[in-house]
Structure formats: C-alpha cells, structure tokens
Symmetry: C2
Subunit: 417 residues, 2 copies
Amino acid sequence: MNLEDAKRLDAADPLHPLRELFTLPEGVTYLDGNSLGALPKATPERVRRAVEQEWGEGLIRSWNSAGWIDLPRRLGDRLAPWLGARPGEVLVADSTSVNLYKVLHAALQLQQGQRRVIVSERSNFPTDNYIAQSVARAHGGELVLAERPEDIPPLLDERCAVLMLTHVNYRTGRMHDMGLLTRWAHQAGALAVWDLAHSAGVVPIDLLGSAADFAIGCGYKYLNGGPGAPAFVWMHPRHEGQVWQPLTGWLGHASPFDFDSEYQPAPGIQQYQCGTPPVLAMTALDTALDVFDVVQKLGGIKALRNKSLALTEAFIGAVEEQVPGAVIATPREAALRGSQVSFALPRQVDGYAVMQALIARGVIGDFRAGDPELLRFGFAPLYSGYADVVTAVDALADIVTTGSWNAPEFTNRSKVT
Amino acid sequence: MNLEDAKRLDAADPLHPLRELFTLPEGVTYLDGNSLGALPKATPERVRRAVEQEWGEGLIRSWNSAGWIDLPRRLGDRLAPWLGARPGEVLVADSTSVNLYKVLHAALQLQQGQRRVIVSERSNFPTDNYIAQSVARAHGGELVLAERPEDIPPLLDERCAVLMLTHVNYRTGRMHDMGLLTRWAHQAGALAVWDLAHSAGVVPIDLLGSAADFAIGCGYKYLNGGPGAPAFVWMHPRHEGQVWQPLTGWLGHASPFDFDSEYQPAPGIQQYQCGTPPVLAMTALDTALDVFDVVQKLGGIKALRNKSLALTEAFIGAVEEQVPGAVIATPREAALRGSQVSFALPRQVDGYAVMQALIARGVIGDFRAGDPELLRFGFAPLYSGYADVVTAVDALADIVTTGSWNAPEFTNRSKVT
C-alpha cells in the first residue's frame, strides 16, 4: 500500500468524515491518542462559554442554572452505553487512580476480610499496581502479580479477593477477555475490577453482559476529554446498598445539602463522588462526548472497532514488511488486541532515539522503556486513517534503515515523559 | 455611609484598581467569593491558549514543552508565600476532600496507633468531618466533635491524635488562632491539620510560624481558580521522609517514569500527588495567581487584610443599623473573623426567601440552613468595595422592612445548592 492507495481507502471510509470534527496540527501524523486524545473542534468554543458566561456572568448561580451540579451524573449517563452499562450506573469524577482506590476498597470490603489478595499483572500500568498495593495492605492483604496472562488463572484461588486487570494492556496493546476472566474470578469466589483506560471509546465493552463488579477508566485517551480530564467509575447495580468506599466527601452523601453531621452514603454510584466537580475539565469532556453521538449514527462502536482493527492490521503488516528487525509485541489475533500496536527493534537500534527522530519528522507515537523497549502507536479510529499508517511506516523504515536516529539530538534521554 | 460616600472611599482605596483585573457582570453586587471567586479577566485567553495551542497543536508533547508536568509543583510554589510556607512545600492536586483524606491518614500514621481520635468542630464544613470519620475508623479510632470553640481544649487529651480545624468557619466566618491551637495540640501530643479553604488568599497565614503539621485548601474561593479548581496540600518539612499517604498514584512515586513494580514514595510534598494533573483547571488557577503578583506590589496580604476588615466592619455596622432584628453571628473582634459576615434574621422572616429576593435584585450572597439559618456575605478584597456594602445593605433593609421577600418565587425552596 502506498500513500495514494491509502488516501483512496480513507476517502472510501464511511467514518473518515469524523476526522473533520478534530483539530490536528498541519504536518503532524498523530498516533498517540492512546496517551492523549486530539482536540475536538467544538471544545474551545464550549470551554470559552463555560469560562466567560457560566463562570464569569453566572458565577455561583451556575451550579443550578448551568447544571454544573449534575455534570458528574450527566456525563456518566452519556458514557454508559459505550461501556455496556445503563444510565445511572456511571459517574465521572476525580482521576483514574483515585477511582481505582475507591472501588478496590469497596471490593475488599465486600469480601468481609475472608479474602485479602488482589491479583493483577506485573505489566499493568504502574499506578494501578501501586494503588492496589496500598489498598491490599490497608486490608491486611497483598497484591500478587502474574508475569504473563496465562499465569492469571492459577492465582484465582481461595485467597483471591479481587482480580484487577486493565482491559487493554498499555504496553503491548493486548486485550483480555473480560467476560471469561470475570467468570473465572467469580467461580473462584473473587470479584472483578476492570480498568478501561485503553478501551473506553475504542473497543466494544460489555460490563453488564460480563457481569463485572467494578470498572474505572480515563477521560483523556480515546475519549478526548483533554489533558488530565476527569475519570469515570462504574459499579454493578447488584452491589448497590451493599458497599462503602472510604473517600466520603460531601457530594457522595445521601443528602449533601442537608449538611448532616454523620456521613450517610448516597445509594448507587453517587456514593463515589467525593469533592466538588471540576467544571471546566468536565465541560471539555462533555463536548468530546458529542463526537460519539455522531459515531452512533455511523454504525456505533462496531464500525469504530472494524476500522481500528483494519488500521492496526495494516500497520502491523507494513512494519513487518518495511522495518528491518521489528518484532511485533501486539497480538495478531484481532480479538486479542485493542487499538494500538507496539513493537521492539533490534538491540543495536535505540528505540527511544527512533521515536525522537520520528517526532522530529512530525510522526508522533510513544516510547516505553522496559525489557523489551517498545515503540507504541495508537490508532484512534475517530481521526486516524490509512494515510497515517503509510506516512508513519515510511518515515520509520527510513529512519531505521538509514540509521538517521543515531544523532545526539535524538539519543539524549533527558525528556521527562 | 451612603452610596456617594462609599464611592469616594472606593476611589481612595489603593487596592481598588485590582477590581479591574476581574470580570464582574453588569448590575451584580457579588458577595459570594467565599463560595466561588470571580473570573480574572486574563483567564479566558490563557485557557483558550492551553486548549487550542498547548493541547490542540502541542498534543502529547506539551507535557514537556508547555510544562504541564510541572504544574502541581509550580502552582504550589506560587501559593507558598500566601500560606506562610516555602517553595517546594506545597502541591496543587485533586480536591480539598481528597487532600484532607491524604493528610489525615499521614497524621494518624505518624501517631503509630498510640492515639486514634480526631478532634474537630460540629460546625466544620461537612466534607471535612465526613472524611475524618472515614479515616479515623480506618485506624480504629473515631471523630470527636466540639460543639463550641471553647469546648476544643478539653478534648486535646491523651487519646487525641489529630486536631483538625478549618481556619475560618464556613458558616460564621469565625477565625481560629492557628498558632495557639497548634501549640495546644502539640502540648497534648496531638498533630494539627488546618483546612485553609476560607482563608487562603484573604487572611495572613503563617503555617511555618505556627509549626502546623499539615494543611489543605481550596482553589476556587478567594483564590479565584474557577468552579471546582484543584486544591492544595502542605506538609511541614519536619515530617519529610517520615510519612506515608494511601493514595499511592504513579505521580507520587519517587521515580514515576521508571515504571517500577513497587511503589516508593517521592520525598516531601511530591508524595501527595496521585494521578495525572487536570491541566485545563490548573491553567485557570495559574492565571488567577497572577493577580496575587500584583497584590504583592500593593502591600501584599496585609493590605488585603486591612481592606477586608474595613469592609466587613462597615457591613456589620450597616446591617445592625438598617436591618431590623438582624443578629450578627460573626465575631466583631477583628482577630476573630475571616472575610465574611453571617447573620440570622428573626424567626418570622424566611432567610432563604430574603436571599432569593436579594439575588433577584442582583445582590448575590449565600444562604445556609441550620439553627440558626444564616445569610452569608463574603467580601473578596480583590474586587469587593464599599459601594458593594452600601448596595447590599440598602437592598437587604428594603426587602426585610417591606416584607417583599414573602412572595412564592422567593419562598419556594426547590434550588439544589
């Protein structure tokens, strides 16, 4: 496939017009939407209105008149269908880490001290494992990590309280079978907590169908809510009224405006709200969700998923064909991968420097240290296309083949992230 | 004092030009900056730039190139002098409730299980007491509440682990003596945690001079960071390396970008960061702090405090003179009050309806239920003036004297907040 072929494929793609709903800088091929989603074109004006009119003119009155107080529930309701959940079950609040802390405490409390082990993977995103260590220790238990996905089932024993997994692995792009692993966890007497950071908005998710117990996820990756956007939290309705979470802020109270002395948790998901919602950030996420209303009319998550798989498949094929020595770390089987492709380069090629050289040419992906060191490319089917695949792989092949990555401005690892 | 007198006083006030740094809606007298600060004029353009340029154009690169990753520490450094703290000791992150949760856990952990009681006031803002109940219970202790300020000292006994107080009470505007109460707490073997929600940016605060242990506070009241702005957290440097807090997210790790399996807390205040910072909200708060750079040139917090006291004194005097039956709930003694005035009306006058009638006339204050029901008026010396005092009290006196509050559109208590 050359660039002309790719442009023809893009032109024929019924989802291609969605790209027009985003601002993408001239000369940039953006393949890092798995880290930070692109800016929806409608966001600046909507945020300006929230700042100048709702805050500047409405002032304190906007908690009612502009519906600020309802944002956490309203955004949750909008997200629900993309998670396989129902309105009223999802809340947008705080960060992914803070929400994970809440649901892990809730899950361990449901186990009533009978089981205290949290099982996860060593390759999980670090914040998940750090939070799990803290929560497990608070309950007198521990976090036990599987080295490989196939090591998970034997860890689901009579000590296991919670199986906590990220649906799509941030390094490899490998996707777990949520239904199967949840069933295994339940058969072993454990609960299942899912981190949807790398799947919400890009792969089909069926929380209710999977009978999962809790889920949390991120607003600024495939959902395009902006840098550090608020996160979301879901609890299966069967746990309603049965659980408690420790971040007992006033807006999780059953009657927050009664200003009671004693904390009484609100029923259902509202209990997971803690402090005052970050209105400007919520407004950006709210606007980003408008894009998904358009997706719904163009075939919904299935159409998005088909395009995502076609893009990652084309990318895997092109990398293998054009980039000498590249070893794909992402599963080739469609059902086993999310929407990113990661690969390693031969030891003598500095993957970090290759990524810097790519970025210098306007192709933005992501590099992750570790063993192996991985180059990661996220495909956001809302705005990524076949031309991006060709542009990226052509540049990559040239950089690796010519050795142009081996220059001091690329090899100096002084960057923060 | 009539409106002409007031305007003369405003014109002569060296801080009056600060008002020009804020957008205030035409025809509105805003006396609720203690709930939500007004919009700084520079904020819309700065937020637009963060959205369109940093996010839209810079995308993921802005974590480094726009300094996003440094925002929590950089904003903390900017806030530090207004709290009587040094740069490097303050972090901006999460919400007030979440930060309180972190520091209360840290404080109880410092007590090593020897003491498990948190002492506070029943009239503290509910979220503080709810969070304290949760943390105390997690450590096998309890929250004990003083009914009146004078009941606090006897509660500082050998069971008391932590004295947790809000510096300026949200209902009455009464201010505690931070130095004295911290000393008493320490003499009793307890630690002192201060909530600065209603004092940061408006009254002199000396955390280091008071030898307080921990402090937290809100970014959207007198600091004008916008609705739901991120909060701040401070820890006395003597506790550095001694403590642990349970929200062990990746950005509180000693080396967050090494992606270690084991959590190792960062030294000092950085440990209190949890998830990814909310960049848009942080940008708004950053811009709001520019106003305080100007204040520094006009006499700093002392000048702000003198103006605040003059405004609240004028307001108390005018209310007593003009509003029949008003009973001031805020201390008359300057050293005992923050920057708001609260008062109760006779039982036959519906305070809620009076506030609605005031708002209908463009005078925005706040109403709080309870016994007594209180009308609250916050004076933000950055943008409130003597003319606001006169306009507010004239309207108030008219509404109460004529009974015009007693109309269905005012008496119907259906509003959310």
